[in-house]
């Protein structure tokens, strides 16, 4: 009997007891769903971490003014700030393991070039920005130290801004106006694409820190040397935690905060966000792995049980098949295929359910839902294996039946 016919006849046997078959499959369904969800959640979390590192840069902490306990960091145009670029210099100078401390100011701005204009975000930065964020220009050049020191009115465009203002034309050495200040374009940044949270990171322009402070972003910055926030990049991940402690110490001293007084700044470890995501994904994965293992085992035993029942119920049929010329191995094959078909259908349903669960979790956690074809093949293979493994004993019992006794059975 060809395989396809054997499967068809197995299907008809399964359909003859549709409800019973469905209940039997349940363990496999849940087990496979857990495997699929586990793999999807694991790779989703990994993806989130990857894209976070890709968009921000590795081993990064951010110092923001204000205290998180007082309602979060205050950023944006015109906000009073307790941080200065001297704080950044001090961090760069005095904290171990710091490779870059990039102070910046930011705000919204209309950028005008000839007839076009484009609303975007503008950052005032110094040279450390490029190493901290691991971000360079694609064409043209970055600022030179003199331009940063003097606060020259030169500008770097993000890809999105360049495309919207200049289309296919080369923007280098063109003049764009921001708040009526004419900036000369000296470079276009490399593309970063979407952030982990779906923002277009290329919709941005950069100017030297002082140019930003004085000319475009806000009066409050111009009064002193204050900055919006500081990105601090460490050489190694292990430097971050001790670095944050010594930075806190340093900034408290510099800001003359003593005793019980609250910090007027806060420092967050950006890799920690990623690590938290990984850790909770790992916990979830372990849980799902346990659910998968138990469900597959229970499902397998369920299949074994139902196949034994089926062999008993169909003893006469087996006797008849033997009488008309089936070899024991034909009977073995028939019941193995039936068990495998049963478990594979369960596996297919499980894949559907697992994808649903993975999608829900991805929605809740805010990362892209990823069900790899590998995981699907693995799940199908796994459920088929469960069928073969747990179907073998019942099938063997069927194959070993004596035709005469089998035919006599009621």
């Amino acid at each position: 009997m060809r395989l396809i016919e054997a499967i068809r006849s197995a299907l008809s046997a399964i359909m003859a007891n549709a409800l019973r078959s469905l209940l039997t499959m349940l363990g496999i369904v849940i087990g496979v769903a857990a495997v699929i969800a586990m793999v999807a959640i694991g790779s989703g979390a990994r993806n989130l971490v990857d894209s976070q590192i890709r968009s921000l840069g590795a081993n990064l902490a951010i110092v923001t003014p204000g205290n998180v306990t007082q309602g979060g960091a205050r950023l944006g145009a015109g906000a009073a700030s307790s941080l200065t670029d001297e704080d950044a210099q001090a961090i760069r100078r005095e904290i171990d393991g710091v490779v870059a401390a990039a102070p910046f100011v930011q705000g919204g701005a209309q950028v005008v070039a000839g007839g076009s204009n484009w609303g975007t975000r503008i950052y005032g930065i110094d040279l450390d920005w490029f190493s901290a964020r691991e971000w360079d220009v694609a064409t043209g050049r970055t600022f030179d130290p003199e331009e940063v020191r003097r606060g020259d009115i030169v500008i770097l465009l993000g890809q999105t801004v360049a495309r919207n203002l200049f289309g296919e034309d080369d923007p280098i050495d063109q003049i764009v106006r921001v708040r009526n200040v004419p900036f000369r374009v000296i470079g276009v940044m490399a593309s970063k694409g979407q952030s982990a949270f779906g923002q277009d990171q290329d919709d941005v322009v950069f100017v030297p820190l002082d140019a930003g402070r004085r000319r475009v972003i806000g009066r409050n910055y111009a009064k002193d040397r204050s900055v919006g926030s500081i990105f601090v990049k460490f050489a190694n991940e292990s430097d971050i935690e001790p670095g944050i402690e010594s930075m806190t110490e340093l900034l408290r001293q510099r800001h003359r905060i003593i005793g019980e007084q609250e910090d007027d700044f806060s420092i967050r470890n950006l890799t920690e966000i990623a690590n938290t995501a990984t850790a909770s994904a790992n916990t979830l994965s372990m849980l799902l792995a346990a659910v998968a293992a138990v469900s597959l085992l229970v499902g397998g035993i369920g299949i074994m049980n139902i196949m034994l029942v089926s062999v008993t119920e169909r003893t006469r049929e087996i006797g008849l098949r033997l009488a008309v010329g089936a070899r024991p191995r034909d009977i073995l094959r028939q019941f193995l295929i039936e068990a495998t078909t049963l478990s594979t259908i369960g596996g297919a349903l499980g894949i559907g359910l697992g994808m649903g669960v993975a999608y829900l979790v991805a929605q809740l956690a805010g990362w892209p839902s990823l069900v790899s074809t590998n995981a699907i093949f693995m799940a199908v293979g796994f459920s088929a294996l469960v069928g073969i493994f747990f179907g073998f004993y019942p099938a063997q019992r069927a194959a070993k039946l004596d035709p005469i006794e089998a035919l006599r059975r009621e």
């Binding site: 016919e5 003859a16 006797g319 008309v324 010329g325 070899r327 024991p328 005469i404 035919l407």
Partner: protein, 240 residues
């Protein structure tokens, strides 16, 4: 050379309660084209004999050749093959698969013979036609009468063109009129050349065979030829 050559066949069951000699040195030749009725009291070894010559069971002692093949020398697969090609079984309880239609039931032996779907279909329809049930090909066993079910079972037994048809109490579950119809069918098949061995309790049924073999206590006590009564006549008489 006879189709069936049984020499001193014995079958002994060893049970906790002791030995049961079901068959005790039976020697019997059956020629191609014969129609044999096996009769005898309950427990006399009729079914045991049928199982042996049907290659479903092995003798404790003695030799058995079917169509020239020494059955003792065959392994389980060899026996299965022999059952598949050379023997058709008809049972008292029909033993049709309830889930599939008549056609699929008749196809079953051909599946194990390895025929493709089209050939199976063709031959199965032909066999159903031979037992007069071509138009019931797509009915399930539950949807046809007992006599019709037994016809389907006979079609199944015939589909691989076996040299031997074995029927253990084929009319046991049928009323006498239907039994006559089945016997008429057997006689017709026999006239077409099919060798038939049939077990029955019913002397009326036994009259339709050409040869009568009587068992008692695992031995043959009587073996004689007779002029068969035509079952068609009885069937049409009853119809009037």
């Amino acid at each position: 050379m006879a189709l069936i050559e049984a020499r001193d066949l014995s079958r002994v069951y060893s049970l906790d309660a002791g030995r049961v000699v079901a068959l005790d040195g039976v020697s019997l030749d059956i020629d191609q084209g014969d129609f044999v009725a096996v009769m005898g009291p309950s427990g006399s070894g009729k079914s045991t004999f049928m199982n042996l010559i049907g290659c479903l069971d092995r003798p404790t002692d003695g030799q058995y050749r079917l169509a020239g093949t020494a059955v003792e020398s065959l392994d389980a697969d060899g026996l299965a093959r022999l059952r598949n090609r050379e023997i058709g079984f008809v049972f008292q309880q029909f033993n049709l698969l309830p889930r599939v239609d008549a056609l699929a039931n008749v196809e079953l032996p051909m599946i194990y013979a390895g025929f493709d779907r089209r050939t199976r279909r063709e031959h199965a329809l032909q066999a159903l036609g031979r037992v007069g049930l071509a138009e019931r090909a797509h009915h399930r066993p539950m949807q046809i009468s007992g006599g019709q079910q037994q016809r389907v079972a006979i079609a199944r037994a015939l589909v691989n063109s076996p040299s031997l048809l074995l029927a253990d109490e084929p009319t046991g579950a049928l009323d006498s009129r239907t039994a006559n119809e089945i016997m008429a069918l057997f006689q017709e098949l026999n006239r077409e050349g099919v060798t038939i061995v049939l077990v029955t309790h019913d002397a009326e049924v036994g009259r339709h065979a050409q040869r009568l073999v009587r068992f008692r206590d695992g031995r043959v006590t009587e073996d004689r030829r007779q002029t068969p009564v035509d079952a068609r006549d009885l069937a049409s008489e009853a119809a009037e």
